[in-house]
Structure formats: structure tokens, C-alpha cells
């Protein structure tokens, strides 16, 4: 026979001072855990958002990132007219040979310099990446040393506004537009003309090539074709796959998040334990009465466990709510990307799955914290319990 749940819930609020402190503690632990997780999730999502399933990316075999890859012009000639590549209305292949250069630029707040990824794209490069749109100004004109910067980078780097000029590679570049990458990795990039980028940064080769396959089957055939060509030390893979693999940067954040959650939950478990011991202690007589009424040890145990779980679940819900404003307000955060060594900007992201994880985490803390006190409550001898004051 189980005790009614309302009995437990109402008991949680009897000793409200200790209860509030415990709930607040658990809420903050869950909030920190959730914030770190929404951060890691946002970072991973930004690379998942980037690929287009119809696109195929070609990089040098063995390179781990576009910025360290090279595709020579001779290699490009080997495959740019392959029949599997889709063509536009004019019959030109939908192919963008990009040049990715890491450029060190001063931050807007004057706190030093950081690396920015400057992507030189071919004219069809924008059509291949429909998630990128121009939100202000205009696209660059090749040959006029113009660039378009991302909306998210604009507040972070000096002179990243329309009409702003900055120097690199001995040349002065002018910002003529602001782009939005709809939360993809392109939010962390500056775009300019590919061939102009090659001349400014003195690059003979391209970094990567992006092509649009006619259809799925043609795409697979294209990948196979590049793979089997022994003259080409290149690797073709779907753009989605390429970006999905770029998750190294999220690792330390997850590591830190888990470490903090672990260490903090130990503290929270101690707190829950103390609260529950006190709760058991002050209700010794009540427990004795319940036993006399015929409730079994098992019911008492479960009842106290439920109480602990409910206590921390309340904390968990508050914690999840505390972590919500950052993803909702679209606050963006930037850090060093370990793949490209450029600044990567991303937003916090909350998913239902994460919320469930946070709540489960809080319940585990509650159950672990109330386990020993509940066992003690269940083991109390009836007579002694009744006699106690």
C-alpha cells in the first residue's frame, strides 16, 4: 500500500527554509549544467546547419579542415566538367572553387587580435549556399577589393561595418555588405571574390571545391569517381558529412560542462541529504504512527524517496527556466575554433531533449540524496519512533 503522493508534496513545504535553500541549490546546479549544454548544442548545431545535402565538397586527402586543404588548378580541371555536376541555365557547371585564408584582425573593443576566416568564393558560390543571405548593403564586386562580413562578426571586429576599411596582406579592403548565415558556420566568415583573394594573399591554389550534384545517384557516382582516380590526391564527401565531422571545438565545452555538473552535483547531493535527514528526524513520531496504521517499511522508503525526487524536480524545473533566456534572446558567443583556428560565432540552443536531460539529472541528484535518509526512516523501530518527542 503506497502513501498518497500529496502527503509527500505537502511535506516538502513544511520545513520551508531548508527546503528553499536546497531547491535553490539544485536549481543553480541544473542551470549551470543546462547553460553549458545549450552552448555545446548551439556550437554543434551551427556546423550541422551548414551543409546542403545536394552539395559535394572536395578537399585534399588527409587534411582535417578546409583552411589546411589545397586543390590545385590542374586538379580542378580534371573534374570541373564531369557529367555528374549540375549546370545552370547558361550551361555552366554549378561549382565554386573557394580560397579560405585565416586573417588576424583587431577586435572592436581593442582587446587584441583574433583570427577570422576569409572565404574567397566563385560567382556561383552564393547559389550553392542558399542559407546565406545578404541583409544589408550589396555583394562585393570582383576586382574592387570589397568584402561582405557576417552579421555576427560585425560587432566583434574593428571596422566591420558598411564602408569600414581594414588592412591585410598589404592591401586595404572595404566592407560593402553584411551577410547572415542563418546560424550556420558561415556566420563566422568574411566573403570576397575567390580570384581576388588568391592574388591578395598570394595563393596559387584553391582550398576546397564545392559542387552541386545533379541528383543523389550522380552525387554518389561523383564521389566514387574522385576516389578511384589515383592521380587526384583528393577526397570528395557530402557537404553535410564534412561539417558534421567538425565537432572538435565543442569537446572542451562539453568536458567543462560535465566536470562542473559532476562536482556541483556532489555538493547538491550533500545538501539534499542533510535536508532529508532533518525531515526524517523531525517526523520520527509520524513515521511510527504510519507504521502502526499498517504502512509497510517499503511504502515509507518509497514515500521518502518520492519526496526527495519531488524536491529536486522543482529545483530542476527552475534551473531549466533559468537557462532559457540565453537561447531565447539569441545571445551569441564566440571562441577559437580548433578545426579552422578562426573565430567561431554561435548561439545558445535549447532542445526538448536537453530539458529532459536536465530534469533527469535533477531527479537523480534528489534520489541519491534521499536514499540514505529514506532507508533510515524505513528502518526505525515502531516503538522507539512512537516514544520519541
Amino acid at each position: 500500500m503506497a502513501l498518497p503522493i500529496t502527503y509527500n508534496i505537502r511535506n516538502v513545504f513544511v520545513r520551508w527554509r531548508a527546503t528553499v535553500a536546497t531547491i535553490a541549490g539544485i536549481a543553480l546546479v541544473v542551470a549551470v549544467y543546462m547553460i553549458m549544454q545549450t552552448m555545446a548544442e548551439g556550437l554543434e548545431k551551427s556546423s550541422q546547419n551548414t551543409g546542403d545535402p545536394r552539395n559535394i565538397m572536395i578537399v585534399r586527402k588527409g587534411s582535417t579542415a578546409e583552411s589546411s586543404s589545397q586543390v590545385t588548378r590542374a586538379q580542378l580541371k580534371e573534374f570541373n566538367y564531369l557529367p555528374q555536376i549540375a549546370r545552370d541555365a547558361k550551361g555552366q557547371p554549378l561549382l565554386s572553387a573557394d580560397v579560405v585564408v585565416l586573417v588576424s584582425l583587431p577586435r572592436r573593443d581593442g582587446s587584441g587580435e583574433a583570427n577570422v576566416l576569409v572565404r574567397g568564393v566563385s560567382p556561383v558560390g552564393m547559389d550553392l549556399r542558399p542559407q546565406v543571405s545578404l541583409v544589408e548593403g550589396r555583394w562585393f564586386t570582383p576586382g574592387k577589393r570589397e568584402v561582405v562580413v557576417s552579421r555576427r562578426l560585425s560587432p566583434r571586429f574593428a571596422n566591420f561595418e558598411i564602408g569600414g576599411k581594414f588592412r591585410t596582406g598589404g592591401k586595404e579592403l572595404t566592407v560593402v555588405g553584411i551577410l547572415d548565415g542563418s546560424s550556420s558556420a558561415f556566420d563566422s566568415e568574411v566573403w570576397m571574390d575567390a580570384d581576388e583573394s588568391r592574388s591578395i594573399f598570394d595563393r596559387e591554389n584553391y582550398s576546397s571545391v564545392l559542387v552541386r550534384a545533379k541528383d543523389d545517384a550522380a552525387g554518389k557516382e561523383f564521389v566514387k569517381r574522385i576516389e578511384s582516380d589515383k592521380r587526384l590526391p583528393l577526397l570528395a564527401l557530402s557537404e553535410v558529412e564534412y561539417y558534421a565531422a567538425q565537432t572538435k571545438t565543442a569537446m572542451p565545452i562539453k568536458f567543462l560542462g560535465n566536470f562542473l555538473a559532476m562536482a556541483m552535483s556532489v555538493g547538491a547531493i550533500f545538501a539534499a541529504m542533510n535536508t532529508m535527514y532533518a525531515s526524517v528526524g523531525s517526523r520520527t513520531r509520524e513515521i511510527g504512527t504510519l507504521r502502526v496504521l499498517g504502512y509497510r517499511r517499503r511504502s515509507i522508503l518509497i514515500s521518502f524517496l518520492l519526496e526527495g525526487a519531488f524536491l529536486s524536480l522543482v529545483g530542476g524545473v527552475i534551473g531549466c527556466l533559468l537557462a532559457l533566456p540565453l537561447p531565447l534572446l539569441g545571445y551569441s558567443i564566440g571562441t577559437l575554433n580548433f578545426e579552422t583556428w578562426g573565430e567561431t560565432v554561435f548561439q545558445f540552443r535549447m532542445t526538448p531533449m536537453l530539458a529532459v536531460k536536465g530534469l533527469a539529472f535533477s531527479v537523480i541528484v534528489g534520489v541519491l540524496g534521499s536514499l540514505l535518509p529514506s532507508i533510515r526512516a524505513a528502518r526505525l523501530p515502531v516503538i522507539a519512533a512512537l516514544k520519541s518527542l
Partner: protein, 381 residues
Amino acid sequence: MTIGTFILKNAMRNKRRATLSILSVAVSLFLLVTLLVALRELTLPPEDIGAALRVVVRSKISIANLLPAKQRPIIERVPGVEAVSPFTWFGGTYKNEGGLTFGQFAMDASKFRTIFGDSKMPEEQFEAFQKDMRACIIGKLTAEKYHLKIGDRITLVGTIYPVTLEFNLAGIYSGTIDDRNMFFHHKYFDEAMGDMGQVGMWWLKVRSAEDMPQVITTINNTFANSSAEVRAETERAFQLSFTSMWGNIKLFVGAICTVVVFTLILVSASTMSMSIRERFRELAVLKALGFRRRELFAFILAESFALAMFGALIGVGGAYLLYTFGSVSKMTNGIFITLEVTPKIIGTAITVAAGLGIAASIMPSISVAKTSVVEGLKTLD
């Protein structure tokens, strides 16, 4: 019974509660010290003794941009420069291990000792390294991690350069601030790459600290407006430039840490004040016996202060022992090489603990003071 033993007996009366309180304080302070140490390490990386005389020259565009090899004789002629070596990040993967392995640099082997004077290696190992063009030397930590010994063969697959290089391990060095890197002959690299005539960076040693500013200005000016502009800076400035790259995540992690510490303090304070609240009746008895409010406050304060300090001793002491004598690079998976618990950090932690001890005693003391003897005696809880 003296007042001291009275307080001690009271503190240890409920052993389980005392243990839980002490442990939760210990955990919070351990975490506080860990976070403070890690943040300090991120914003202020450890400094090598020899770094004071080293200058790093990289491309002005960014660190990933290469420099023409023909700059070397020009830099060598700059007055005050003692030695110049190319310094190219190879970025190979070892044993198919993705992710963070260890840094690999191609350099002029004959200049290794001059530039990195703080490294220690047996003479015969250094000679073997100099003689064999395919030889490499490796830091003690990496050698231990992969169980490498002299004479082993090491194969690196380039991720930046399309070559696979094979090396003979000629020496294992130690004594630098980061004994993890691998160094090999730039000539071997050039040969494998078909003499591309480019290097990653130039690292140089200047004769004395007085020459430093002059050398840096001269190098920067010499290549200004050339096709390959450079940025010369001290090794320290070069290192610190990486901390700026962390972006606002640094600030953010700092903020999180504050929340973490605040949370744990809240939790421990509530735990400690709970034990006082349970003794309401007793305190009322003491009041009835004639003890004054401030004496009662002193009892409570002394008890919670003692618990907090005991927790601090375990937490801070544990962190100090762990980070001073434990292998930090193994524990953090290579993210940190040293975690130095400075006196300032210990001071901060102890201050927080003291504040915690005082804060935890204030609330119960106020309610004890407010309650009349009769009310206190009536309390059942």
C-alpha cells in the same frame, strides 16, 4: 567543561551532519580553487625562463600564413640577433589519433640548443639528433604518453602538408615549460616537400634583453610594405595573443564559475545553519541560565567558523596537493600542462571560507536573539 570543548562537542554532536557540512564546504572550495587556477592558466599561460630572450616572427596576415625562406639572411644580419631558426608547425597525425596529439615543429637542428637553452638532454642524444637528418627529438611527457624510447620509429601523416614523414627518435628532452613537443630537421621537411621555399615562422634569440625592442622594431620595419609583411613580437606577447582568441567564452566561463561557487556556498551555509536551528531549545536553556545574546552568537559563530575552516583545509589542501604533485597533463587530457595554486588563490579561497562561516551563523543568530526564552523552550523541532 571549558567553552572550547563545549563548542567542539556541539559541533561534533551530530557526526553525520558535521561530516556532510565539512564535505560540502570542502567540495565547494576544491571547485573554487580548480576554476581559479584554470582561468589563471588560460589568461596567463606559464612563462618559460628562456622566453625573455626569444622573439617570434610570423606573417602579418595570420599565423597560418607562410613566410618566404629568403627572409632568413636578412633577419640574421639584424644587430642584436644571436640565432635564427625557421619554425614550421607540421600538424601531422600520429597513429591515426584524431584531435590533440602533440605539437610538431620543423626547425634548424643546429640552433635548437641556442634558442631553447632551458631544455635538458644527454649530450650523445643531441649529437645523434644533429647528425641524422631524419632524426627527431621529443618531449618527456609525450614520450611517456606513447611509451617511446630512443631508436623508435615515428611516422607522421601530414594534415596541412601532403607528405608522410618517418623519423628516428634520437633524443628525449625535458626541463622546458611544455615538455610535449617534437622537433625535427627543417631540411628533411624541405626535401619531402620539394623545396617550397617557405617556412611557418622564424624564431630567434637575441643577445640581451636590452637588444629586444630594437630587434623587434628593425624586423617589423624591414619587411613593411614588402610582399610578405611580418609581425615580430616577444614570445610572451605571442603566447598572450592566443588568449585574446578565446573570445568572450573566457568571460562567460568566469561568470559560470561565480555562479557555481555561489551555489555551493548557499548550499553549505544552509546546511550549517540547519544544525543551529535544531538546537533552538537548548539555546533557550542557555539563555535562561543567563548567557547573553552576544555569547550565544559567539558560540554559533565559532562553531560554524570551525566547520567552514575544517572544510577549507580539506578542499584547498586537497586541490593544492593534487595540482602540485599530481600529473596535471594526464588528468586534464593534455588541456593544461601546469595548474599552479598560487598563494593569492589560496588566500581567496580561505577568505571565501571565512565569509561562508560568518554568513552561515548570522541568520540563526538573529532568530535566536529575537526569540524569547519562553518561546524557545516551547519549540519542539
